[in-house]
Amino acid sequence: MELDVRAQLERLTQRLGGEGATLTEAQRLSGGASMETWAFGFEGRDGPERLILRRRSAPFDEETARSISLATEAALIRATGANGAVVPQVRHLCDEADGLGEAYVMVRVDGETLGKRITSDVRFDAIRPALARQCGAALAPIHATPPPPGLKLKTVDAALELDRYEEVYRATGAERPILELAFQYLRKHQPEPVEPVLLHGDFRNGNIMFDPERGVAAVLDWELAHIGDPAEDMGWICTNSWRFGRPDRPVGGFGDYADLLAGYAAAGGRSIDLSRVRFWQMLGSLRWGVMCLTMYLSWRDGAEKSVERPMIGRRVSETEADLVVLLEQGL
């Protein structure tokens, strides 16, 4: 049975805002098949509050899933925030009394997340040249946060990622020469092992809230957080699928490699070679290509019915168009 989220938000409002607090807005923002995001607000004892609810609407097994639980997500946002990272404030971790299932509430942050607007909208023209450096600076305190004990975070490195995505690719049965060549090339050019750190895991244009005046306002979407090579987070934001039509600006479609790395170092991050970032960037394109294949297969095998899925399958060729250029250029 579909949960009446609005009714539960009325109850939650009483809990958070005190008796007599009134829900002033509740709107579902987005969400895929398994995750919902709601914007809501209330007028409580201590004045108005504007909040975001994230809740899971499908069963989840943290042992086998690639993503982390929402409780883990909230714990990481709190821990990295306490270490100086620019993240939303977690207002409340939901429990059984809330009747919302697995969920947490954070304070709403204003700004823009649509990648295309960050790269192209005139509102961001003035701040845009500063954003790559800010993104580097935003990563440093995340990577420097000791992972809170007791959380189930996976540790990966380049070899494990290549193994995992090649296994998924083989299982699809697809035969794509450019993806094959990228796997072979990346296996031969794996970077030296490095001391692993806490990673955001999905650090890209689209998952960062930007303010047109101040720049980075909050790092969002923590569900793929894990432990690994710090250059992985940098390579992912440089992957061309997240540059939204501006391949000439390698960092997110808004900035340059040097600014990303300089911002990271100036904020206390360790020195990272560009070639290491480029390795993870190329692996990022390959990973997105394999993910597009699996999204098509979820439609072919009947698990998903949306027309969106087979069309995402046709996005494999965008990663191939990027990979041939990266393979030509080298790391």
């Binding site: 039509g245 168009a321 041939v324």
Partner: protein, 119 residues
């Protein structure tokens, strides 16, 4: 082939109809309708550009593999010989051939995509 209308024109007419009704849909269905219209456009491009793209891929793969054959069997062999390490980025002509094949495919799937190095 029937030319009045051609197949790609049928696809185009469906895409146009979807665009006409899109404003009357709720946000989620309006989004999916745009995806559906894009799918019709892709079908149209595959019909008009696909045969030439496949013929060029067959010619390029035949050069790299030094054999003849149809698209599917040469594609399978190309993948196998890359996977085995016999063909690499150093192999003369391989990357150049793959680049042409990738450009032809993106021109069908997503002609507006700005690939790495394209600006």
């Amino acid at each position: 082939m029937i030319t009045h209308p051609r197949t790609e024109e049928l696809a185009q007419s469906v895409a146009l109809w979807i665009e006409q009704i899109r404003p009357s849909l709720d946000p989620r269905n309006a989004f999916l309708a745009r995806v559906a219209a894009n799918a019709m456009a892709t079908i149209g491009r595959e019909i008009t550009q696909g045969p030439a793209a496949e013929a060029e891929a067959v010619r390029l793969m035949a050069e790299v593999l030094d054999r003849t054959g149809d698209h599917a069997e040469m594609n399978t062999e190309l993948c196998a010989r890359i996977r085995s390490g016999e063909l690499t980025v150093e192999t003369p002509g391989l990357l150049a051939a793959l680049t042409v094949m990738a450009r032809n495919q993106i021109a069908i799937d997503q002609p507006g995509y700005k690939a790495e190095g394209s600006l």
